[in-house]
């Protein structure tokens, strides 16, 4: 991320370490992950130790320190989804794309993630592909949803 853009994000939230979480969220929103160099620069600009930034970046599940894929497939692992078979959906993506949760395919096409619950339990099991919710999933439906990615 270039320095000017980082400055803008910091200014939008206020140059105060209390706003670190919000600043990191904005960086990730733009870059899709938290680049190491940007975090170093941020530490300098806010005059906080890099370790504090890393403590936040590794504590909260929504941050990624690794570059993520072009598409993000998120499988909800909430209780309602779990009892309706969510783990088998994760297995299916793992099998078909050869990645584990948190992993990205070698061609940087797809990242598989899990989330604790998105609160759309009536639709469980639920898969979110690039922000779009797909409810009441089973293996056949998931295959249909992921089909276009394979052809890309």
């Amino acid at each position: 991320m270039d320095s000017n853009r980082l400055e803008q994000i910091i200014d939008a939230h206020g140059r105060d370490s209390a706003n670190l979480l919000a600043i990191l969220q904005d960086i990730q929103k733009q870059e899709n992950y938290l680049p190491r160099e940007t975090l170093k620069e941020l530490a300098k600009k806010l005059n906080v130790p890099l370790s504090r930034i890393y403590s936040l970046a590794t504590f909260f599940a929504s941050f990624s320190l690794k570059e993520r894929g072009k598409h993000i497939c998120t499988v909800c692992m909430g209780t309602a989804c779990h009892v309706r078979g969510a783990p088998r959906l994760v297995d299916q993506v793992e099998r078909e794309f050869g990645i584990k949760p948190g992993g990205t395919t070698a061609d940087k096409k797809l990242t598989l993630e899990t989330v604790n619950c998105v609160g759309a339990c009536a639709l469980g099991p639920l898969v979110i592909l690039d922000g779009e919710y797909h409810g009441n999933m089973n293996s056949a439906k998931l295959e249909r949803v992921l089909q276009p990615l394979k052809k890309e």
Partner: protein, 630 residues
């Protein structure tokens, strides 16, 4: 833009104006725009309705309104036609021409879009549908009627009247006394009396007068979405509660407010943001609110996806820009919380209860619920509670009932019982900190104290129904694994203990359990409970303990007979194709990722058990229910 309201009388005059304006002369099409219905495509419906209405020249006679969550998520997208109260469910874009022509223009009901119960009976009115009929909707009362992005809609139905009353005619102490007398207890799970908390926070010493008012919207319990729906569907009710709280707790000092919302709830963040802006524009937030001298504003903080941040001290650490690690509470947060100032934190639903209590009075509020709170704020559970009823139940959705109704009433009368005629096994309440309750406890009244006695807890209100195809050992493994993952790592007992429990449970699910494992887990559980600092660790073994207490035989079967009666634990099951049901369509053979299903066309197929990985794809794709688990 509207100018600022100067006092309570100004607010009432404004209400009259907007009430007249927003009172529809004709019909209203109320479309649910909650997360659930949006996922089914509800957002496309409103523009399509408007366009279709124009074709019939009805655009000025029928109002199209996107509302908050109606709660009956199972049947979304939901559309209610008012004033007739006709409920259409699973409405698709292609149904719209027919709805406009027949129902809105012709006054005719379309039978196929109505809700039909399991017995095939159709219901026309929303209020008659069993899912709604047996509820008592107070907090959710306006969710299906108002547009959450319009402060005028909220004011038109009586919103901010409680605030007007408080600021113009009540002293802070009187408000606290009232909340205390109402018996309102914290809806986030702990059940701590809100009035007692407010009183302590007001009494705490603050050199510069700063006191923080926080709303906990970090609804981290998987399977729970009550708070999300309130924030999305009626954000002003939460904000109004917080402003009243600021007056009662901090006036004439310097109150400052925060709403901490989960990162996973983008729509709630958006709607709260709009609501705060509108409240500022009308002068309901900011300086000298309604001429009372109260200065108060609220900021939204987005969480980062950590379950432990629902814990009050962890949440405050997170607002300060640190990792969400809880601290010991020998000094309470009401005395020294956020930035070491007196801090009052309540949950979303608790705040939303406040305006109701002020407006309708203590006597009315205490007539709902259990016990007697006149001399003891812990003496009962008053008011209603919203539950998110999910899992293997027919009618998934949000359910608001008076405290004290039975689990059976919620699951069977409102929820319509179990999906697919299967047998009820357990209901899990209270999220990862709660427990699994068996059939024998179905007639237990649901309130804070009864649930705790049974080894579970109210939690924030998740209610996950499980049937005979749910494995209780797997459920315990799921929650324990979840908590081991979400433990912040500060206390050894929680960090290491949960990890070990998780490993033992995994071993049992894998068919490697040892006879002494149950005792070992019980002893570990006691240590974790006793030696952990915060509620996460102290309640982390509830799922394990409650399943061991009520479903011990399933553990013994897993360990001794290597059997999972629910057919869930992969190492203990096998898939088989029933020869008499298989039509030889070859679909399963084609889809099997291991290619271990063989058979000729139109002849029964067979699974090669040595290669099968128990993925279940064959069962999913079979159109003839020929694949069974054993």
């Amino acid at each position: 833009m509207s100018s600022k309201l100067k006092n309570a009388a100004d607010l009432e005059a404004y209400r009259k104006r907007v009430a007249e304006k927003s009172r529809p002369s004709g019909k209203v099409v109320a479309i649910c725009a909650g997360t659930g219905c949006c996922a089914y495509g509800a957002l496309k419906l409103a523009p399509a309705f408007r366009e279709e209405l124009k074709k019939h020249g009805l655009q000025d006679k029928v109002m199209v309104r996107q509302t908050g969550c109606h709660g009956f998520c199972e049947r979304g997208p939901l559309v209610v036609i008012q004033p007739e109260d006709t409920l259409y469910q699973r409405v698709k874009i292609q149904d719209i021409p027919e709805i406009v022509e027949k129902t809105l223009a012709g006054g005719e009901v379309i039978e196929r879009l109505l809700y039909h119960d399991a017995g095939g009976q159709a219901y026309t009115k929303e209020s008659e549908v069993p899912f709604y009929k047996h509820q008592m909707r107070l907090i959710l009362a306006h969710n299906g009627h108002i547009d959450p992005t319009s402060i005028d809609d909220y004011i038109a139905v009586g919103g901010y009247a409680a605030l007007g009353k408080v600021l113009s005619s009540m002293k802070p102490e009187q408000v606290i006394k009232m909340i205390k007398a109402s018996g309102l207890r914290g809806r986030g799970g702990g059940g701590f009396p809100a009035g007692v908390k407010w009183e302590s926070c007001r009494a705490a010493k603050s050199e510069d007068g700063v006191r923080y008012i926080i709303c906990n919207g970090d609804e981290g319990d998987p399977g729970a979405f009550m708070d999300r729906s309130v924030m999305e569907g009626n954000p002003h009710s939460v904000i109004e509660g917080m402003i009243i709280g600021a007056w009662a707790i901090a006036h004439p000092g310097k109150p400052a407010g925060y709403i901490y919302v989960r990162n996973e709830y983008p729509l709630a963040v958006e709607r709260l943001g709009i609501a705060l802006k509108q409240a500022r524009e009308l002068g309901l937030l900011g300086e000298n609110i309604l001429g009372s001298g109260l200065n108060f504003d609220i900021k939204i903080n987005k969480g980062g996806g950590a379950f432990v941040c629902g814990e009050s001290t962890a949440l405050m650490a997170s607002i300060e820009g640190f990792v969400g690690e809880p601290r010991a509470k020998h000094i309470h947060t009401v005395e020294s919380g956020l930035w070491n100032k007196p801090t009052n934190l309540n949950n979303v639903e608790t705040w939303a209860n406040v305006p109701l209590i002020i407006e309708r009075g203590v006597e009315w509020y205490t007539s709902i619920g259990t016990g007697d709170v006149r001399d003891n704020p812990w003496g009962g559970s008053k008011g209603t509670k919203i539950f998110s009823l999910v899992g293997k139940v027919q009618n998934t959705g949000l359910v608001e009932v008076p405290m004290g109704v039975t689990l059976r009433h919620i699951i069977f009368n409102i929820g319509g019982g179990i999906i697919g005629g299967k047998r009820f096994k357990a209901v899990q309440t209270g999220g990862p900190s709660g427990g699994c309750l068996p059939e024998s406890l179905l007639d237990m009244p649901v309130d804070f104290d009864e649930l705790t006695k049974a080894g579970s807890m109210m939690g924030s209100g998740g209610m996950i129904v499980m049937d005979e195809s749910t494995c209780m050992v797997d459920v315990a493994r799921y929650f324990t694994h979840f908590l081991a993952d979400e433990s912040c790592g500060k206390c050894v007992s929680c960090r290491e203990g949960l990890k070990q429990l998780s490993l033992i449970l995994q071993r049992i699910c894998d068919g490697q359990g040892r006879p002494q494992d149950l005792e070992l887990m019980e002893s570990l559980s006691e240590t974790i409970r006793e030696a952990s600092l915060c509620a996460l660790g102290q309640t982390a073994t509830n799922p394990l303990d409650s399943t061991l207490r009520y479903f011990r035989e399933e553990y013994i079967e897993h360990i001794e007979q290597k059997k999972c009666r629910a057919g869930v634990c992969k190492s203990l099951i096998r898939f088989r194709i029933l020869a008499d049901k298989c039509t030889g369509c070859m679909l399963c053979a084609k889809k099997c990722p291991q290619q271990c299903i063989s058979g000729e066309k139109k002849k029964p197929h067979v699974i090669d058990q040595s290669k099968c990985i128990h993925c279940g794809v064959c069962r999913d794709v079979c159109n003839f229910d020929a694949v069974v688990v054993e």
